[in-house]
């Protein structure tokens, strides 16, 4: 005799294992006194260049390190190491995002209490990283002036999970007729109240403001 299947409510977050791990990481970062910033963007936004400058500037007064995620190659870690900061590459293979387990694994053997700032550079992708908490304190979404002002409207989820939007390559703004007001409007439409900063890692414009924002977080 067969009985009808019974429906049992279980109510679990599908990514709960990642969330539990991310919470543990956040507690660990807090205890160690390290401020953790993640960077998300599409490929080619100038994320690595921005991070290289940031590491160089912050390193003058603080202890800084970075984990950098890519599908393949260790090129970015080599580039970032030029700043003199401690850098490790996470090679994800075919996976399009970092998750908390990858971060935890990559931190193995690092003395977090010897750091003031830790940066997590995600894989270049504006979709998948939105779903994965990495235990970071601040999530920066980065977009360059060459990508078009409607990026926030096209990728609302990632903008919605971020804390600050950094507009890069501002030195190219006039060449590409970049509309600063339009981007501000579009960011505010998907994430009301989010702060936006415009920088050029090449000329240094706006970098002081970004450094100040990071430093304000640890004081």
């Amino acid at each position: 005799m067969t009985t009808a299947p019974r429906l049992v409510e279980v109510r679990q977050n599908i990514l709960k294992h990642n969330d539990i791990l991310a919470r543990a990481l956040r507690d660990r970062f807090q205890e160690s006194g390290v401020f953790v910033v993640s960077l998300v963007s599409s490929p080619g936004s100038g994320k690595t260049m921005l991070l290289e400058r940031l590491l160089t500037l912050l390193k003058r007064r603080h202890r800084v390190a970075a984990l950098v995620g890519d599908l393949a190659t260790e090129n970015d870690a080599a580039r970032l190491a030029r700043s003199g900061a401690q850098v490790r590459q996470i090679t994800t293979g075919t996976i399009c995002h970092l998750d908390a387990a990858m971060v935890e694994h990559a931190l193995d053997g690092w003395a977090l209490d010897q750091l003031d700032f830790l940066f997590l550079e995600n894989v270049g992708n504006l979709v998948c990283p939105a779903s994965y908490d990495l235990g970071e304190h601040l999530r920066c979404v980065i977009l360059s002036v060459t990508e078009g002002e409607d990026k926030p409207l096209k990728y609302p989820t990632i903008f919605n999970t971020a804390d600050v939007a950094v507009i890069t390559k501002i030195d190219l703004a006039s060449a590409v007729e970049f509309d600063r007001e339009a981007i501000e409007r579009n960011v505010q439409a998907v994430r009301p109240g989010m702060r936006t900063l415009a920088v050029s890692a090449k000329t240094g414009e706006g970098m002081g403001e970004l450094v100040a924002l990071m430093e304000a977080a640890i004081t």
Partner: protein, 80 residues
């Protein structure tokens, strides 16, 4: 395209919960938010692959649309 990663997590959790409840899991009910960044068709396809050779292989995935960023395992159908 991280539906396969999401499907793998879903299969893990559904297998855990199914094991706790006892019996065979014949359907998995989930809620997916519009802002979750997950495509339903891709998730359904990935679920069939991710559940192969697991205790919940052959179970049906039932997806309900919802608002926000929800990615939730809501219920299991269990045959005893």
């Amino acid at each position: 395209m991280h539906e396969l990663s999401v499907a793998v997590s879903l299969v893990e959790i559904a297998t855990e919960e199914g094991g706790r409840l006892g019996g065979r899991v014949c359907a998995v009910h989930v809620k997916i938010g519009q802002l979750a960044g997950v495509a339903k068709e891709a998730l359904a396809f990935s679920f069939d692959i991710a559940s192969q050779d697991t205790p919940i292989a052959g179970s049906r995935l039932v997806i309900e649309d919802t608002d926000g960023r929800a990615l939730e395992l809501v219920a299991l159908e269990i045959e005893s």
